[in-house]
């Protein structure tokens, strides 16, 4: 197990380097010269050349990349072109909000998804099962931003139960968390259901029945624990989709998180900010995956070794 963890941590290093390389290369594809952009209109060639030199843009591209990585590791993602403040500072202001939103949503995803999946699986082909599966199908098909708008319309505009936008209190959190977590909940529900149905066909469930255990003991004690192991992976993957989804949700609910920061940065062509934002979100996701893998390995060791 220890060896596995160490190996798995070492494996993330090339992935992180790759991610940074991709982000770096994408920014190289930007048409136009950042130095010209930064210098503003009517700048002399000398000024532009000076800025180029200051930014290190006159050096070979590989050199620039290494330089970029070295700075990034130290937390230096450059300066925002718009506010001239360090990118990391701006991100750190926004990041906690996004993480709060992500955690609230993953809570909805996991709890709602698993409960619905379990209900469905234990009453296969019942009215409850069919309704849950239809809702889950809708859940993976609805655009989250539209769901968000509709929730705002019904619960904030019409019923006035929740604030329309902003962040800070629990009541601010509820609608965005549902918006962002619904799709994942639908996927987790489908996965939990199929995993449970798979597990109840296993030999050890038959053993439990032959022991004379009650149906609910068989399902919840002997089935559920085994069924949830593969669901862990799905939840991990959903975290990525969810982190990406904050971009849309924060835009719908006017939440000043990292997602909105990135979108605004794209609109204003604040490239260092886009670069830094995407990179940090990806790093978080990579570490999240690492944690999920270790967790999965921990729960799954008994099955793997069979």
């Amino acid at each position: 197990m220890f060896v596995f963890i160490v190996r798995r941590i070492l494996q993330t290093i090339p992935v992180l380097l790759g991610v940074s390389l991709v982000v770096f290369l994408i920014m190289q594809m930007v048409p136009g010269d950042p130095a010209t952009l930064l210098a503003g209109e009517g700048a002399t060639k000398e000024t532009i050349a000076m800025i180029r030199h200051q930014l290190g843009l006159d050096r070979p591209i590989l050199y620039q990349y290494v330089d970029y990585v070295i700075h990034a590791v130290q937390g230096d993602f450059g300066q925002s072109l718009r506010s001239s403040r360090p990118v990391l500072d701006e991100i750190m202001v926004r990041l906690p909000i996004t993480l709060e939103l992500a955690l609230a949503s993953i809570f909805i995803t996991v709890v709602l998804g698993m409960v619905a999946g379990i209900i469905s699986a234990t009453r296969q082909y019942s009215a409850a099962d069919i309704s849950i599966m239809i809702v889950a199908l809708l859940g993976i098909s609805l655009p989250s931003f539209w769901l968000g708008l509709m929730l705002i319309y019904f619960f904030s505009v019409n019923l006035q139960w929740f604030p329309v936008s902003g962040w800070g209190t629990i009541s601010h959190m509820i609608l965005p968390a549902i918006t962002l977590g619904a799709g994942g909940a639908a996927i987790v529900a489908r996965m939990t259901r199929s995993s449970m149905l798979e597990v109840v066909r296993q030999d050890y469930i038959r053993t439990a029945k032959a022991k004379g255990l009650k149906e609910h003991v068989i399902i919840y004690k002997h089935g559920l624990k085994n069924a949830l192991i593969p669901v862990i992976t799905v939840v991990g993957l959903q975290f990525g989709a969810l982190l990406g989804g904050t971009v849309l949700t924060e835009s719908v609910f006017a939440i000043n998180g990292l997602g909105r920061l990135i979108v605004d940065a794209i609109r204003t062509r604040d490239l260092p900010m886009v670069q830094g934002g995407v990179l940090i979100a990806s790093v978080i996701f990579v570490f999240m995956n690492l944690a999920v893998d270790i967790l999965y390995r921990y729960f799954n060791k008994r099955i793997d070794l069979n």
Partner: protein
């Protein structure tokens, strides 16, 4: 002489004959037809494709015609889905928007599938260091959370519907590469591939004639499900103002303009959302049905 005292078992289950390709398709069709829900999905998709093709014929109005007198109208006999903030007929705009969504979906998935298949086949067939390099690249692409990779690409290329196709296409590459590599590996291990090679077939012939047909069904299933994701992602990017630009009747862009009138005219946001959801739902259940019919093992 066998030392065991065991009854030789001819078995009950081995009565099935080896199925030919034709029988495979018949079995697939039979299974698929039995799945009523999947049929519904297929009909939804077909319905939308027909709408897209015949949009000019079925649209009651010009989707771009501005009529400020009749703006923000709720549904009437004249405008079945009402009008938007510039008085344009929402139904007609949705019908034309079908073309955009389907085009973006098909083009980006085709693009992603093409490159993904190429990468997956190469990695799975040649193995060794080629495999390692390609799969590391795929890992890196998968390390971007959700649509952030697409977002980063658009930030570089600039907002436009074409760039959305590129971005969403790139976003689809890793999924295809993984699936194709997996299937290629399992086919490659089969003995007959060695036999064919021993007969002097080139790598190219082996890949095209023997491996590709075997990876086709998982690719088709993945492509169908991926179309749903692609349409959703593209609409999302347009919603953020990073895709289709006004006055384009792209569904996500329409939704985006509708959000400003959520209080006074919620129908502007309502209908595009229903349009997206229905089409995506169609692809999702169609894809689920295809998967169950083509390969029950992929049911995860």
């Amino acid at each position: 002489m066998k030392p065991e005292v065991v009854i030789k078992n001819p078995g009950l289950k081995l009565n099935k004959k080896k199925s030919t390709k034709l029988q495979n398709w018949k079995a697939f069709y039979k299974k698929f037809k039995r799945n009523k829900l999947a049929l519904v999905g297929g009909y939804i998709v077909l319905f939308y494709i027909l709408l897209a093709i015949f949009a000019p014929l079925v649209s009651p109005h010009d989707p771009y015609e501005i009529d400020l007198v009749n703006k923000l109208q709720t549904p009437t006999m004249e405008h079945w889905m009402g009008t938007d903030d510039k008085g344009r007929d929402i139904l007609s705009r949705l019908l034309y928007g079908t073309r955009l969504s389907l085009t973006v979906g098909f083009v980006s998935v085709f693009f992603g599938a093409f490159i993904g298949i190429l990468l997956g086949l190469t990695a799975g067939y040649y193995g060794k260091w080629i495999d390692t390099i390609i799969m590391r690249i795929v890992d890196v692409l998968l390390a971007f959370p959700g649509i952030l990779l697409a977002l980063a690409i658009i930030s570089a290329l600039g907002p436009s519907l074409i760039n959305v196709m590129v971005a969403v296409g790139v976003f689809s590459i890793p999924m295809f590469a993984r699936i194709v590599r997996g299937s290629t590996l399992s086919v490659r291990k089969l003995e007959y591939i060695d036999a064919v090679r021993a007969l002097g077939a080139t790598d190219f012939t082996i890949i095209v004639k023997h491996i590709f047909p075997n990876i086709l069904s998982p690719v088709i299933v993945q492509a169908t499900l991926r179309l749903a994701t692609a349409i959703l992602s593209a609409a999302g990017l347009s919603f953020l103002g990073l895709g289709a630009q006004p006055p384009s009747p792209e569904w996500g862009a329409m939704l985006s303009s509708g959000r400003d009138y959520l209080f006074s005219a919620p129908h502007i946001a309502l209908f595009p959302g229903i349009a997206i959801s229905t089409l995506v739902l169609g692809f999702n259940i169609f894809g689920d049905g295809l998967r169950d019919a083509l390969d029950p093992r992929m049911k995860k």
